[in-house]
């Protein structure tokens, strides 16, 4: 003789048995993908060098383009030579083809003892379009270990700037 509780238990059990026979799904795997791209690394391949300069009685600037052309803003500044364009190498391994990269050059200060000069930078990536002084350059890259970015700049030279070797750094950053 069934009690009320026992009847419910039997009905539930029977339902499970029927479903178990009627439906037995097999899973189909569907592919998922993702590609993690690392940060772009930037290394210096060549320093930016304004060469030998003779200051004059009037303050001015010396501009060195990414194409290697150097010029002074006034005639009292004499450019003797020895200048060279800077070059940074970007490691873009793993980035998707034709990725757009923006490079920023942050100006700095050159020092010689207690004397200083300020410098601003610009850049030119693959494609050959240089940015304005103190402006970022944007370009597309091909994935690889050494995408070249040329660095130029503008050096502010004081009137009768003290003689000496001036050194400093600028910061170059690259971002997607």
């Amino acid at each position: 003789m069934f009690s009320r509780f026992n009847c419910k238990s039997v009905v539930f059990f029977s339902f499970l048995v029927v479903l178990g026979f009627a439906y037995n799904a097999s899973a189909t795997p569907i592919t998922t993908n993702a590609e993690i791209v690392g940060n772009i690394t930037v290394t210096q391949n060549a320093p930016l060098n304004f060469g030998q300069i003779t200051s004059g009685t009037t303050a001015g600037t010396v501009t060195l383009t990414t194409g290697g052309t150097i010029a002074a803003s006034n005639a009292t500044i004499a450019l003797i030579g020895g200048h060279s364009v800077g070059e940074m190498l970007l490691n873009t391994t793993g980035v998707p083809p034709a990725s757009t990269i923006t490079v920023t050059v942050t100006g700095g200060t050159l020092t010689s003892g207690g004397n200083t000069m300020t410098v601003l930078g610009n850049c030119e990536g693959p494609g050959g379009v240089p940015s304005a002084i103190n402006a970022a350059c944007t370009f597309t890259v091909t994935p690889g270990p050494a995408e070249s970015v040329l660095i130029g700049g503008e050096l502010s030279v004081g009137a009768n700037q003290a003689v000496g070797v001036y050194t400093g750094t600028m910061e170059v950053t690259a971002a997607f």
Binding site: V10, T28, P29, N33, N39, S99
Partner: protein
Amino acid sequence: MVLLTVVLMHLAPSDARAQWEPATFTELQPLNFGFIVPGPAGGTVTISDTGAVSVTGTITHLGGATNAQVLMDSCVGPGRNARRIILVPGPLSGPGPDIVLNQLTCTSPGRPTRVNRCRNFSGTAGNDILLIGGTITVPAGQTPGVYTGTFDITGRNRPPCP
């Protein structure tokens, strides 16, 4: 015992229309999260079931993402093709720690988006294409490289086919 026998007779598939059978799925397009730069804090990348990309945190997405497209057999006639499609996320493996696939979303013709499942009542015979998206979590410092994995899809049909 008498009661058990009666119940089984009533529910047993003596009529084939009452049976559920496994559905067949064919991958037409994988779920591809594309190129991802985690940034200093990481975050999540979501591909909607219709293919739209959204990110959280410091992630930069560089393109290349696609939703999954899965062909599902639909061999039953009007009003008879009620099917429950279950999606089970799985991790993506690669050169670094596994990337977690948090959840999947799915839509099918005329049906709203659902999480980790689809519901399809297309009402006509033929093949339906399911659109599937998902969300992954990418931590900061995730090792660069290609990560691959799978998610499982199951479903059921109610025959007979016309």
